[in-house]
């Protein structure tokens, strides 16, 4: 598809740059065929930090699975999506597993040498290499930052490559910065600047909005600009075109 676009639109300056890069991903080492058990245990894990796993890219590792038995891939992927994960690929597994994964648009990955437990034969590695450029564009796992304690006046917390999640209140005079979204599961009285690297799709979410300043990709509002309708309420702050909007999270 990318090649087609270049043919239609010949351009003297390069429209993109394909580069290899490394990302941290969550890997789910599957050890049971029984998806009911997997589902139950996953629910417990996710409940401990729901926001942390929200939209987290995940790789399914089939190498630890017992030999006999089959994984219902469609069900597993649906299960993961239901919990908020974004399945991006698989590691290991039988030939059938790989066919199934390919059919579901999942990448076939091989683990690096330093992980030790590489079972995949070299033939498959070659196949993977063809797919790698595409895959690198898809896999961009953010480095989210989770803070569980109250953020005090004068403190500054920065998540340079991802979301910032605060499980407590943020005092006035404190400052939160994130390249991605900012979530505050408490009172937000300080400053919150989402999308500091220019990501206009970033948002600020909070349980109670009384921020000194909220900003998305440089578009900001100060406390004085907050309307009574949103003040002290659960809200989200986002960009709509060039305008910074604040809306209630519930009716």
């Amino acid at each position: 598809m990318a090649t087609q676009r270049i043919k239609r639109n010949p351009s003297p300056s390069p429209a993109f740059d394909l580069k290899g890069s490394l990302f941290t991903l969550t890997v789910m080492k599957l050890m049971s065929h029984d998806l009911d058990i997997v589902s139950d245990q996953l629910a417990i894990k996710v409940n401990q930090a729901p926001a942390f796993f929200q939209s987290a890219p995940i790789v399914i590792d089939l190498q630890m699975l017992p030999e006999n038995g089959k994984v219902d891939f469609a069900l597993l992927v649906g299960l993961l999506r239901g919990f908020g994960f974004i399945p991006v690929g698989i590691v290991g597994g039988s030939h059938d597993d790989k066919e199934m994964a390919r059919a579901m648009d999942l990448a076939i990955l091989s683990l690096g040498k330093n992980t030790g437990a590489v079972k995949a034969p070299p033939v498959i590695t070659e196949k993977i290499e063809e797919k790698i450029p595409e895959l690198k564009a898809v896999v961009a796992a953010p480095e989210n930052k989770l803070v569980t304690k109250t953020v005090r006046s004068g403190q500054r917390i920065y998540a340079p490559n991802g979301d910032l999640i605060i499980m407590a209140s943020v005092g006035s005079g404190a400052e939160l910065l994130a390249s991605g979204n900012i979530h505050v599961y408490g009172q937000l009285r300080g400053r919150a600047l989402a999308g500091v690297n220019g990501d206009e799709s970033a948002r600020v979410f909070c349980q109670s909005l009384n921020a000194e300043l909220v900003s998305v990709a440089g578009h900001y509002k100060v406390n004085e600009d907050l309307s009574q309708a949103v003040r002290g309420r659960p809200t989200q702050v986002f960009l709509e075109g060039d305008k910074l909007r604040i809306s209630l999270l519930q009716a």
Binding site: R152, G154, S172, G173
Partner: protein
Amino acid sequence: MARIIVITSGKGGVGKTTTSAAFAMGLARKGLKTVVIDFDVGLRNLDLIMGCERRVVYDLVNVIQGEARLSQALIRDKRADHLYVLPASQTRDKDALSMEGIESIFDELKKTFDYIVCDSPAGIEHGAFMAMYHADEAIVVTNPEISSVRDSDRILGLLASKTKRAAEGLEPVKEHLLLTRYSPERVQMGEMLGVEDVQEILALPLIGVIPESQSVLAASNSGVPVVLDEKSDAGQAYADIVARFLGEEIPYKFIDVQKRGIMSRIFGG
């Protein structure tokens, strides 16, 4: 093992020294060996509040600089057997406080005392850091008004990041909120922040509320820690705080408006 408690606030004039004096006296009256140290070098006040200003020979800076032994600088309180005061120097500045010097003083005090109470200077500069660095617990003194609350929030941030416990990754400093100069009537009229308002902002366990009281000024001027004035509301409130600090469960007083009798309602008062 001796516990080091810092009395701090960020903001000045909220009652740190009054609290240090009353709290230390309260601990001593419970039979606990207590020393209270004035860290406000250059603005020495604790000796006045403790009523020992005429017995100061050597001070904290003298000990740090090796000009006097610790035992020479400690002043024994005449009213409580177990209470000692280590005064600050009025003629030096806070830079005279060195980390190593203070550490060695604490090491020596820990051998004999149960509690070491540090009266922090206002601000977030060197003196305040020296006072809080070794603390095991902190009493954050706050007035029910927004600037004091914000300064307390700032100090709480520093307690969580700039103390020895934070640096060494130990259990964090145990923090207590103390509201001083509280007037339930003014809270009811909306002129003052209430206990819940302050607690909601600072998210801190409350160790007590000291009502706005004439007895505090009178006690300060006569050099008697207000906790010794058992008839005064502030004195009782400080005694309750000491008891609460030592683990007793005591209901909070002075938070609600006192119900006035019918006579005072008719005649005013």
